[in-house]
Amino acid sequence: MIRLEKRPQPSKAWTVATPILAVILTMIFGGIMFGLIGTSPVEAIRTIFWDPLFHPQFAGFSRPQLLVKAGPLILIAIGLSIGFRAGIWNIGAEGQYIMGAICGAGAGLALYPMESALILPLMIVAGALGGWAWAMIPALLKVRFGTNEILVSLMLVYVAENILASVSSGLLRNPEGMGFPGSRNLSQWSSSQNLELIPNTGMHLGVLTAFIAVILAYVLLTRHIQGYNIRLTGEAPRAAKFSGVSPARTILFCLGLAGALAGMAGLFEVTGPAGQVSIDFGSGYGFTAIIVAFLGRLHPVGILLAGLLMALTYIGGELAQLMLGVPGASIQLFQGMLLFFLLGVDVLTNYRVRWGTSEVAR
């Protein structure tokens, strides 16, 4: 009889080993899945995990894409992870990402066609504020009325998507766009464009911000009292309350930070890779970032690696779609499986597996 025994402390070794184990399991079961839909498993796995980086023909194009995709994922996941640590479940990052893009783009387009070096910084601030304000809705409702932040933040994603559809065919529509929905192209306006900082690396301002966020989050969680309070709130809410940590302030801080970072990610996306506010701007980064946060064990460095890995599956998925004719949705399933396996093997981190009869049976 197998039984589980709770570890006094989470195992350090397994904390590192479980994500790797989960990736391996996902590769095996993903391979079986690809086999079932009639693709060679080995070839599919190689196309997803190996070819984007090392294929002689495609790697030149897909390698920079790695950072382009990882940037927003990491930036959003860092914000989410800090909330998750405190037991605050903001799952509406997609909405905050969209609202950040809309507010930032709106602030910039209001000044069009002025040319100034200050416009992009202004847009970044406006984007962060847009995401922050959108996240403040569930935060304030939770603080004031005790409303469930999971449901409110998620409902606001659908609201944000409708606002996006509305502004891209109305308020922010390109007046010279011959009636097509979608804003002016922000990546072609020199004051708002968010270009690669180093050519052919995909390294734009947003990726840089994501890396800075990783460092700051690490400092916050390990060296700063606010980070300690957040961890305390998550692990022992009652103890945190007695020691004077205000739950309301923690909620406002965590949701606000996550919203601001997601809003910034949206702004960097809309001024760079996406280029314009359009109906299909919401790309699911906000939801994938949840997987990234968990895959990275809610740890900044882990999130950095997990973001890169998840970006790899995105690019590899596109490549597999192109070369092997694998349906695009299978990669989404692949990512979901990764999260499932991670959560499953996670039991090894917190529990010891013991063989033999338990005392109950005697």
């Binding site: 469930n148 659908y158 949705a329 989404q332 979901g336």
Partner: protein
């Protein structure tokens, strides 16, 4: 805008149709939550039910078989959630989100070849005599069998939780898993069964969308219905009767919005389509502020992991 083009009889009838998917999903989720488990994967189970039901119905020509398979598919998928959270003791919030992602991915993978196809839908079941009544007959007694089945499930769940011993055990497990375990009840087994019932109901709800309400398969067609079902459970403060009220209320909002659009309301289509979500938020605020404690009626062990130490 021509409001007179909205027929009140058809309006009520279509409210019942549009409320049925969320009613089925919500009543299932309520049982799950009563057992102390928070399954956020309703959306994933619904959409899997939708695609499986559609595929089976189109290949066999039997919509009822589609519904049955959809229920099984939902239950099987929810079992994955159940094993992870109950046996491997994973975090219920994260696992539920994972279930939604898996369901969305799986469904669009399976449904790709079936996009845009038409299927046979359920016939209207005219209840003898009652359906011939003026006004009320067309409104209430001329629906397909799933509408009545969903109502039967609500009544059955209500009676099960209120009057049966098994229902009492289920509630005990949700209120205090430690005490239930000490009394010798199999906490994990009860919860797994509840989770599977919830999965089956969500699967039925999803199949109702793809087989009756729309009736077509499109990728991501549930569009948040699963999340609205979750909100309805909170709205209903975990009571079967109020789940029914909540689901019909939300169905009503959706239908009204569609009708206003069809009646030629041109201003702000997007603002109307966001209204169900905004109203959900308002309702959540209203019910959570209306209580002295933050969540009076929630099962005490909702969302907590159970691990028998003794």
């Amino acid at each position: 805008m021509d409001l007179s083009s909205i027929n009140p009889i058809l309006l009520v009838a279509s409210i019942m149709v549009s409320a049925t998917p969320i009613l089925l999903a919500a009543i299932g989720e309520m049982v799950v939550e009563k057992s102390g488990v928070l399954n956020l994967g309703v959306e994933g189970m619904m959409i899997t039910g939708a695609v499986i039901g559609f595929i089976v119905a189109i290949n066999t020509g039997a919509p009822l078989l589609g519904f049955a398979t959809a229920a099984i598919a939902g239950a099987v998928l929810s079992l994955a959630f159940g094993v992870l959270t109950q046996v491997f003791l994973s975090n219920q919030v994260a696992t539920g989100l994972g279930l939604t992602l898996v369901g969305l991915g799986l469904s669009s993978l399976l449904g790709k070849p079936y996009e845009g196809q038409k299927t046979v839908t359920l016939p209207k079941l005219d209840i003898p005599i009652l359906s011939d009544l003026p006004v009320v007959g067309r409104m209430l007694f001329s629906h397909d069998i799933m509408v009545y089945l969903s109502l039967c499930i609500v009544v059955a769940v209500w009676a099960f939780l209120k009057y049966t011993r098994a229902g009492l055990i289920l509630r005990a497990v949700g209120e205090s898993h430690e005490s239930a375990h000490a009394l010798g009840y199999k906490v994990i087994r009860v919860r797994l069964l509840a989770i599977m019932f919830g999965g089956a109901c969500a699967g039925l709800g999803g199949a109702y969308l793809s087989l009756v309400r729309v009736p077509q398969w499109t990728e991501g067609m549930t569009a948040g219905a699963g999340w609205i079902a979750l909100a309805i459970v909170v709205f209903a403060s975990w009571r079967a009767g109020r789940v029914l009220v909540g689901a019909y209320l939300f169905g009503g909002i959706t239908v009204l919005q569609l009708n206003l659009q069809a009646a030629g309301l041109t201003w702000g289509v997007q603002y109307l389509s966001m209204s169900p979500y905004l109203i959900t938020i308002l309702v959540l605020v209203f019910i959570s502020s209306n209580r002295s404690g933050s969540s009076h009626d929630a099962p005490a062990n909702l969302g907590q992991t159970f691990h028998a130490t003794r």
